[in-house]
């Protein structure tokens, strides 16, 4: 009780109080104007509180997955004695570096059901979190340049339709109507033969999603601790060295700011996932690869949909500011370095110009990279591990941003009920020892 009173006092008002006090306050144009006129600075969006010695749940990783898990633990299950710890700042990993594409036209029925739930949550997110996440449902087009690609598109479209997902294969004429800047002639080396068109797909503002969840979780009493690196996971009674590994039980974590005891620790560290799970003695089928992206100078809006080409290893969308955002497939070898490379830019430029010859004089402004946690079947690893109390929500590869909301919701349920929810059953770690992989490569290798 004392805690929640302190909470309200500690939090300054950022805007108009919303009608529903269970939600964080709303931002408004009037609030913006009055702050501008009074020249006041904006208050902190989440509290900076001292690190405690114990929590009910410690979540490692302050990206969209960790924050969403915390938010839904507090909102759906009333579990609020939760700390999210991050070695850097919130959103410093893939969550602040991705190209913000969301869609649900995956290849396996398991994947489709899962990602579709995420789109639902994204659809109502601005209202749920009282923050404008700028969801732009602009449509998503995956081009086919070969007969085999076209076959996979047809397969995906049928799997999608069976689950009531708006997804169909269209011909080059319709591609041209949707995106006139694409070269749909037969001149290119890889002519466009058709596309998988998915109208509900689009883009969303990734940093707003991160801050929205952080703010929403904070409002419910969850604590966010930045610059708090996890150095070890405390496990007792396991088969491995130091009592770690299968059969063991988590007792807490050691951080750069001291030990924390907690019966439940959730690993949401994406590219760093195996480093964390090693600390608990749990082996994962994950290798870390950088993924690069780049953005051009802004120009007048001309590209209405997201365009992906698996064969050419490239995808592109245009932001509201007019910049073209490009991405490709992951770098060709494992590394923890996040550096841009000329190989990437060179290949990207060549391939993009093959699709859109008209943009040859545009200039690239920036390029960057983020770490991705790749699994052999391009599906995540979620839920319990052989160490009691140590859960994982990792293996998000190049496609985990769109999965943030549903993963948070399902992981929260997993923690609260101590049972694996149906939606994430297929993604359990056990699948690698039973051989029941969920092959999503056909839908996830390039088209994040």
């Amino acid at each position: 009780m004392a805690k929640s009173a302190g909470l309200t006092a500690a939090r300054e008002k950022v805007g108009r109080r919303s009608a529903d006090s269970s939600k964080p306050p709303r931002y408004s144009a009037a609030g913006l104007l009055s702050r501008g006129a009074r020249k006041t600075t904006w208050p902190r969006v989440w509290r900076d509180v001292p690190l405690q010695k114990t929590y009910d749940v410690v979540i490692i990783g302050g990206g969209v997955h960790g924050l969403a898990t915390a938010y839904y633990l507090a909102t759906n299950h009333g579990i609020t004695n939760v700390a999210v710890v991050d070695k850097s700042y919130l959103g410093s990993g893939g969550s602040g570096r991705n190209t913000a594409i969301v869609r649900s036209n995956y290849l396996t029925p398991e994947g489709v059901a899962f990602y579709d739930r995420s789109l639902d949550l994204y659809n109502s997110m601005s209202l749920d979190l009282n923050i404008n996440v700028m969801f732009s449902e602009r449509g998503h087009m995956t081009l086919a340049h070969t007969d085999s690609a076209l076959r996979t598109m047809n397969w995906r479209a049928e799997v999608n339709k069976l689950q009531d997902i708006n997804s169909s294969v269209i011909g080059p004429e319709d591609v041209k109507k949707l995106a006139p800047s694409l070269d749909t002639s037969s001149d290119p080396r890889y002519p466009i033969l058709g596309a998988l068109y998915h109208p509900p797909g689009g883009t969303i503002r990734h940093d707003a999603v991160v801050w929205g969840y952080a703010r929403g979780a904070d409002h419910r009493g969850v604590e966010m601790h930045q610059k708090t690196e996890v150095l070890d996971i405390l496990v007792e009674g396991g088969d491995g060295p130091d009592g770690k590994g299968p059969g063991g039980k988590v007792t807490g974590v050691r951080t750069s700011r001291g030990d924390i005891s907690a019966p439940i620790v959730v690993n949401c560290t994406a590219g760093w996932a195996t480093l964390i799970s090693d600390m608990a003695g749990v082996k994962l089928p994950i290798s870390t690869r950088p993924l690069q992206a780049a953005v051009t100078e802004p120009v007048k809006v001309f590209l209405p949909t997201v365009v992906v080409s698996g064969s050419l290893h490239v995808y592109v969308s245009q932001t509201d500011r007019g910049e073209l955002v490009f991405g490709a497939s992951v770098d060709p070898f494992n590394t923890y370095q996040v550096r841009g490379s000329l190989d990437f830019t060179e290949e990207l430029a060549g391939h993009v110009l093959e699709l859109m010859p008209g943009i040859s004089r545009m200039r690239l402004l920036r390029q960057w990279a983020g770490l991705c946690d790749m699994t052999p079947d391009y599906s995540p690893v979620m839920g319990f591990t052989p160490v009691e109390g140590f859960l994982c929500d990792v293996g998000w590869g190049t496609y985990g941003f769109k999965a943030g909301p549903v993963s948070g919701e399902q992981m929260a349920e997993c923690v609260a009920t101590q049972q694996t929810p149906k939606l994430i059953e297929p993604f359990r770690l056990e699948r690698f020892s039973t051989g029941k992989l969920v092959g999503e490569k056909g839908a996830a290798a390039v088209g994040h």
Partner: protein, 90 residues
């Protein structure tokens, strides 16, 4: 991007080679349990530090070889010198 020291061709851009991943000893398929075999197939060490890995020199000598690289700096340890004896077998 990354200059890979091929034992036969010398340093070559990584795009000339194919990265084959971590190099582990393959267990005898006749002796292993199913679980051990699947661990060999799927589980990774993925260290932030020294890693033993297999490369295939696709556009050059077309040989497989094992190198050691620090995944935090991308530096190769004891890079092989062409003309010297070929590095470890894959």
């Amino acid at each position: 991007m990354l200059l890979v020291p091929c034992p036969n061709c010398g340093p070559r851009n990584a795009s000339d080679l194919v990265y084959k991943g971590e190099s582990h000893t393959r267990p005898d398929p006749n002796l292993v349990t199913e679980a051990e075999w699947r661990s060999y197939l799927y589980l990774e060490d993925n260290p932030a530090g020294w890693l033993r890995e297999t490369w295939y020199c696709r556009s050059g000598c077309r040989r497989y070889f094992v190198l050691e690289r620090d995944t935090t700096t991308n530096e190769f340890r004891n890079p092989p010198v062409p003309g010297a004896k070929i590095g470890g077998k894959a």
